[in-house]
């Protein structure tokens, strides 16, 4: 069972998702973003960087997060990052279509590539990972793309090759939207994703 820490911004959305909802049970420690620089991360296996994390405080901790990964640990990033700080991720911004599901024969544009991966065989479905997208990553060779757009851009991928650790990066922002109570699929996503992160096969 992995010990999970969260870089905690203390906004209302993060308060609900990480501190007061059913998902708090999966979190071993909330590390206030203001204190992350001084925090010893040795005890943790996983560090989550939530979506809509304060960029100024993130900037001050980028090296620390990379150092954490390089000790063989797991870093999870949710949502568009607004900074080019993930290893070899090659972010591409795309305008968000919040309304695709209202269109006739609606197609989210998402495709499941990781059909045999533990996350999708035992924890969530593609539908649980489907609300809207903010852009895609184009990670380098060796990264495992689990969910992609129909043109191949990565929406959820695992990077075991660019550092000594494991990065689970997704442009999806389930924690922000669950905490905003506005996207029902995000609840299903977190109900599977967090138990997987705790106990599943990465």
């Amino acid at each position: 069972m992995r010990k999970i820490a969260v870089m905690y911004s203390g906004s209302s959305q993060h308060w609900r998702t990480y501190k007061t909802s059913e998902f708090a049970q999966y979190i071993d420690q909330l590390i206030p973003a203001r204190q992350l620089e001084e925090e010893n991360l040795e005890a943790f296996d996983v560090l989550i960087i939530p979506s809509q994390t304060h960029t100024g405080l993130l900037d001050r901790n980028i090296q620390k997060i990379h150092d954490f990964a390089n000790t063989g640990k797991v870093v999870v990033t949710f949502g568009p990052q607004h900074r080019d700080w993930l290893p070899m991720h090659n972010w591409e911004f795309r305008p968000t279509n919040f309304w695709w599901w209202l269109e006739p024969n609606a197609d989210s544009g998402l495709r499941l590539l990781g059909t045999a991966h533990d996350l999708f065989t035992n924890y969530i479905t593609l539908e649980d990972a489907t609300w809207h997208q903010h852009g895609v990553y184009w990670p380098n060779e060796g990264c495992e793309v689990l969910v992609a757009t129909d043109d191949g851009g990565a929406v959820l991928y695992i990077d075991r090759v660019n550092t000594n650790g494991v990065w689970v990066n997704t442009t999806l922002d389930p924690d922000f939207h669950f905490g905003s109570y506005f996207m029902p699929a995000t609840e299903r996503f977190l109900r599977g994703f967090l138990p997987w992160l705790k106990n599943g096969q990465l």
């Binding site: 911004s9 203390g10 906004s11 209302s12 959305q13 308060w15 007061t20 206030p32 973003a33 203001r34 809509q52 994390t53 304060h54 960029t55 100024g56 405080l57 568009p80 607004h82 309304w99 209202l102 905003s180 109570y181 506005f182």
Partner: protein, 210 residues
């Protein structure tokens, strides 16, 4: 035109545009709050993108500002008591698709000329205006927005302090309708106008905030 501070952490959703700045909005980085002279502003908008624990630690700054007749428009779905007499935000039990946002009759110009439909729906979808409410409000507060169950969603409180507190249990009503092509588009401009009107009124009543 007096400036209005827009308080938040630095994320995508809080960044101001050239149009916002032309309207007099100034981004006030949350963690600069202890170093800011709030009386230099006509009012302070506190977004839903703030670290509430930090605001708790600096509640005295907001209290003093209100004591001096300041105007605070809170957009925070509040869960800590950092703003005078503003109760915790509660999630509405009414499904978003069924929830009706109601504009209450008022002399306040915030929602003047805005069609209820236009703040209830964006492209046919409900839920943008608010997903919650306040369980209680201060005595003498004027409720501006409710839902069909009658719970308060947005109110103005001119009595708890020497200043004015607008408290909204909703999303960022400055930004969310700003590019709509209907009456809701006016909400952002009217919000700033309301803040400035309150500042003038409070100043006339002896406040030192502008």
């Amino acid at each position: 035109m007096e400036a209005i501070a827009y308080v938040g952490i630095d994320i995508q959703f809080t960044r101001l545009t050239a149009e916002d700045r032309e309207r007099g909005l100034v981004f006030l980085y949350l963690y600069d709050l202890p170093y800011a002279d709030l009386t230099a502003y006509a009012g302070v908008i506190i977004t839903n993108h703030v670290e509430e624990q930090f605001l708790m630690e600096h509640k005295a700054i907001l209290d003093e500002y209100l004591l001096n007749g300041g105007v605070i428009f809170s957009l925070t779905e509040i869960s800590l008591p950092w703003l005078a007499n503003v109760a915790n935000w509660k999630r509405s039990p009414i499904p978003l698709k069924d929830r009706e946002i109601i504009i209450e009759p008022s002399d306040c110009s915030l929602f003047k000329g805005i069609e209820p439909y236009d703040i209830n729906y964006r492209k046919g979808v409900r839920g943008f205006f608010s997903r919650g409410y306040f369980e209680k409000i201060p005595a003498y507060a004027e409720v501006l927005i409710t839902d069909q169950s009658g719970v308060p969603i947005l109110y103005v409180d001119r009595h708890s302090t020497n200043g004015t507190i607008f408290a909204g249990a909703g999303t960022d009503i400055y930004k969310v309708f700003i590019h709509e092509e209907n009456t809701s588009k006016k909400l952002s401009i009217q919000m700033l106008a309301c803040i400035r009107e309150e500042a003038i009124r409070n100043y006339a009543n002896g406040g030192i905030s502008k």
